[in-house]
Symmetry: C2
Subunit: 344 residues, 2 copies
């Protein structure tokens, strides 16, 4: 777990980290309940390259193009064309600072380039992926071997710094990959789930969001202020579903998993975080052959997942969801965590 000083320092390092989805337990995890998160095969790549001075962060192929931030020493001059991309860039700059504070050293100047094959702000944990990939790449550049535990911890600090509050699960998934059982009361608060179901056939759909994660979490909090016992019972029911889902995952019981996903979705609806459009698409996924479907992440639009019996079924569900107006990401579950892809 300790960082080992590497022999070499590098001129340019590329690291990548996977996106993640929550299979079970979003929102409930805020109230101390277990959750299951999984890395997906879509990744964010961060290239960190030395330059003489100053820091340039660019993102050439995020969903919105042409974003570039030039930071002087201690000041930031931003030329930003999209709010979402801008948010990602603040994770990068914070990640760079965290690494420098941690290691007590820094590069004179940096060019950071971000590329992604998944959409930002769709609930796929892109901010955690960016943070984690940036940390790993920069540590490597500075001559330190990025250990996953340490990268996850620093990534969590980045998320907390940028957002004010954060869950450690996104950065844990981005660092460790695979599937994780999140147990907020434990230390560490997550552990790997060695499932009998690697490469689960899942389709991820997403639509525009009408509310931010912060707003949705606050809405649930207000509902609990009003109906504490009802909301607590819902959270505990979601926890029980997550516990059953762990059993189903270990057994590779896809049919049970689908049923549990359906139930989890409806309980999220009780909390008011689904939308009619999400319900419609989730129902569409179910009626076109999915074993189960649910929103994933905070809700209010955003991403949803559909579990299928086979890859063929998944393709059929993908077609239906596309026809229903959603964007579709094809990805397999349980992808590998943060990786240094290139160092020279």
């Amino acid at each position: 777990m300790k960082n080992t000083r590497a022999n070499a320092v590098y001129r340019r390092v590329v690291a990548s980290a996977p996106g993640k989805i929550t299979l079970f337990g979003e929102h409930a995890v805020v109230y101390g309940k277990p959750a299951i998160v999984t890395a997906i095969s879509r990744r964010i790549r961060v290239s960190v390259e030395r330059r003489m001075e100053g820091i340039i962060i660019s993102s050439g192929d995020l969903t919105v193009r042409g974003v570039e931030v030039v930071m002087g020493r201690g000041s930031v001059e931003a030329r930003v064309h999209a709010e979402h991309a801008a948010r990602l860039l603040s994770y990068v700059s914070t990640a760079l600072r965290m690494v420098e504070e941690k290691l007590g050293t820094r590069a004179d100047g940096l060019r950071v380039s971000i590329s992604s094959d998944m959409p930002v702000s769709a609930g796929l944990g892109t901010s955690a992926s960016v943070s984690v990939a940036t940390i790993a790449a920069y540590m490597k550049l500075l001559g330190y071997e990025p250990m996953r535990e340490e990268v996850a911890r620093l990534g969590y600090m980045v998320e907390k710094t940028v957002q004010g509050a954060a869950s450690p699960m996104d950065t844990a998934a981005a660092s460790h990959g695979g599937m994780l059982l999140v147990e907020p009361w434990a230390n560490p608060p997550y552990k790997p789930l060695r499932t009998a179901s690697p490469g689960l056939p899942v389709i991820i759909g997403y639509i525009a969001r009408s509310a931010t994660t912060g707003e949705l979490v606050a809405n649930v909090r207000r509902l609990r202020d009003r109906y504490e016992s009802i909301v607590d019972m819902v959270m505990e029911t979601i926890a029980e579903i997550t516990r059953e889902a762990v059993k189903a995952l270990l057994q590779g019981d896809l049919e049970s998993l689908g049923l549990l996903m359906n139930m989890n979705h409806e309980l999220l609806s009780v909390l008011g975080v689904s939308t009619p459009r999400l319900d419609e698409l989730v129902n569409l996924a179910r009626s076109s052959g999915a074993l189960g479907a649910k929103l994933t992440g905070a809700g209010g639009g955003g991403a949803f997942i559909a579990l299928c019996r086979s890859r063929d079924d998944a393709m059929q569900v993908a077609r239906s969801i596309k026809a229903g107006g959603a964007s579709v990401i094809e990805a397999s579950l349980g992808a590998k965590g943060v990786v240094v892809e290139e160092a020279k």
Copy 2:
């Protein structure tokens, strides 16, 4: 509570009983949880008239017309054109027999005519209304004053006999009218709710059903066999919602009532008794101005209710629901119970 022998016997008696909807707690009540049912202003009328011999039961203006059953002594010759109406007729014949067994007397022959201004098999408790109205009319015809408690009890026995199993709440609502808090553990298992919200502006929509009440109850039972603790938690959460709804009803707090209805609907969805079509219409009601909406009754299609802030809002919701393909019943809540309308 005792039947008083009346001085007169009659040639023809007409009695009517209201339909009912469940505001909160359907399905959970099967597991001993509280529920709230309310009579609605749509009624079934049963006319019972003496004839020389034999029993003729006819239903001129049920949804399906032209139903007539001619029963000889002990045998039944049925000319039935619709399964739903046929089911109603078996409630009538059983109700007649229960009254005769109870009172130890009978008419030589009878012509029973049923009319209804609500649809059958839409979850509005028409079988209970028919049973209760028949019992009241026939008791009166035979010279006994039908007391509501006794009529409810006999009606419950009719439902149990015809269906094999039954809840006492439908016949209680049809007999007593108003709103009832159903408490399965209490004796009697229901008590009147004196609400601050009489005449609540509610729109009742309904669509075709894809499953019977028995099938839906069995499905929930199977789900519980598989996931006992999850289903028990859902039932207890519904119970808590019902308890909060009693408070909201007593305070006339329509906005809270709407929110609680929404939550109750989503919990019924967890149990798998809603359908995509019902979800769509419930969402449509919500988005077109309802304070809350939920399925009512066993689900699998059937009826749903939308609570509105005003009669104008209710009309708007009714238009949306109609445009969305559902049939709409306009009715006020808390209608009067069984009434002898005519006796001569």
